[in-house]
């Protein structure tokens, strides 16, 4: 009797697994990837046509919105330039100095903005995933157990992300300060002494606060 009950349970479990596997198999699609260098393929026309579509779109419009309205997007539209009233008087070395230091400052602005957006988007995703999982896991005991393990993994990865953010933040802020010091040198060449002490440090502290991890 006990043997019969055990065999029945085993059969039920196997049937459940089979039907789940079949459902998963039914849900899939058959994908045939077209290798783009393969000009002998019948699908070469697809590749050519797709190239033209992409070229037309890219040529016509380089401003694209983010996929999700909740997604963080770096914003560099605000004009932060200030009237410094210095001039290089067409001195080539002076112009080069300014171009180089502006380039470096913009590089670190870009990286800091990217860092913050990656972090904000990850935080939003994590919060939504945790909320979704907490709500759905109560429906079935097995889902609840599986969810707890997934939840631990999500939070562990999030903590790692926070540590990585902090390290990269320190590195980028160091680079930004170095670039501002270089700009200070350019200002000195152009006749503006002690620019960093008078003005540059204000920008540095503004950026320090703006990109500090909020949590």
């Amino acid at each position: 009797m006990k043997k019969l009950a055990f065999l029945s349970i085993l059969l039920l479990v196997k049937l459940a697994a089979f039907s789940q596997g079949a459902a998963i198999a039914r849900a899939r699609a058959v994908i045939n990837f077209i290798p783009t260098p393969d000009v002998s393929s019948d699908a070469h026309d697809i590749v050519v046509a797709s190239t033209e579509i992409i070229r037309d779109i890219v040529k016509g419009n380089d401003i694209a919105r983010s996929l999700s309205l909740e997604e963080c997007v770096p914003d560099f539209t605000q004009d932060l330039s200030s009237d410094i009233l210095v001039s290089c008087n067409s001195e080539p070395s002076c112009e080069t100095c300014f171009q180089t230091s502006f380039g470096k400052i913009n590089f670190y602005r870009r990286q800091l903005a990217r860092l913050r957006c990656i972090y904000n988007n990850t935080k939003t995703f994590t919060d939504n995933a945790i909320a979704f999982g907490d709500n759905m896991s109560g429906i079935h005991a097995m889902s609840g157990m599986r969810w707890q393990q997934v939840r631990i993994d999500i939070m562990k990865n999030y903590k790692t992300m926070q540590g990585t953010y902090d390290r990269r933040y320190i590195e980028f802020m160091g680079g930004l300060q170095e670039s501002l010091r270089e700009l200070d040198t350019c200002m000195y060449i152009a006749g503006e002494n002690n620019w960093y002490i008078k003005s540059g440090f204000i920008y540095y502290e503004f950026m320090q606060e703006r990109y500090k991890r909020p949590d």
């Binding site: 789940q20 459902a23 039914r26 849900a27 899939r28 699609a29 058959v30 994908i31 045939n32 990837f33 077209i34 783009t36 699908a43 697809i46 797709s50 190239t51 579509i53 992409i54 779109i57 890219v58 419009n61 380089d62 694209a64 919105r65 983010s66 996929l67 999700s68 909740e70 997604e71 963080c72 997007v73 605000q78 932060l80 330039s81 200030s82 009237d83 410094i84 009233l85 001039s87 290089c88 502006f102 400052i105 913009n106 990286q111 860092l115 990656i118 988007n121 939003t124 995703f125 939504n128 979704f132 759905m136 599986r146 999500i154 990865n157 790692t160 953010y165 990269r168 590195e171 700009l183």
Partner: protein
């Protein structure tokens, strides 16, 4: 330059830290098994088209198919086009970032009409295709452009010529 290259990789590393869990819209439904559309290098060095592309012809065996794409960056353009390969076929297509149940963009592929979307996003996103007729066949093309070397941004500072007194 070496430092810049090292720093440029950091964005990629940040994604790897969270890559496993954010590779697709999040869901606990075992029946939703999104398939990855693998990206390959495309027109490297071309000033306009350099990037990665996935060109796929798909024969769907169920009414709903799920796909996902990885490797997009917030400074990179993404273009997706979808078109029919069979006549009299109508497909509902949706692009999803956070959840399969809340599409961020959607459209219809109807006969000769192709569906095209252009956007920017960080990391990955999902594509859901629903067909009311059995065994649809269509093609999906996803292109992710390289990050531009120069991004339009106002300088934080500017130097202007001195105003000469008369």
């Amino acid at each position: 330059m070496k430092r810049k290259k090292r720093i440029a990789l950091i964005g990629f590393l940040l994604l790897l830290v969270f890559g496993q869990l954010v590779a697709q819209p999040f869901n606990l439904d075992k029946n939703i098994q999104p398939q990855e559309l693998k990206m390959t290098d495309f027109k490297k060095g071309d000033s306009l088209l350099s990037g990665k592309i996935s060109v796929a012809v798909i024969k769907q065996v169920s009414d709903t198919a799920y796909f996902f794409v990885r490797g997009a960056g917030i400074y990179q353009q993404v273009i997706l086009t979808a078109s029919n390969r069979k006549p009299n076929q109508k497909l509902d297509i949706a692009l999803c970032k956070e959840s399969w149940n809340k599409p961020n963009r959607s459209g219809v592929i109807d006969n000769q009409k192709a569906y095209t979307e252009q956007f920017k996003t960080e990391g990955s996103f999902g594509i859901r295709v629903i067909s009311k007729r059995p065994n649809p066949e269509y093609q999906l093309i996803v292109w992710i452009g390289d990050e531009p070397k120069k991004i339009k941004m106002e300088n934080a500072f500017a130097n202007k010529p001195k105003i000469k007194k008369p």
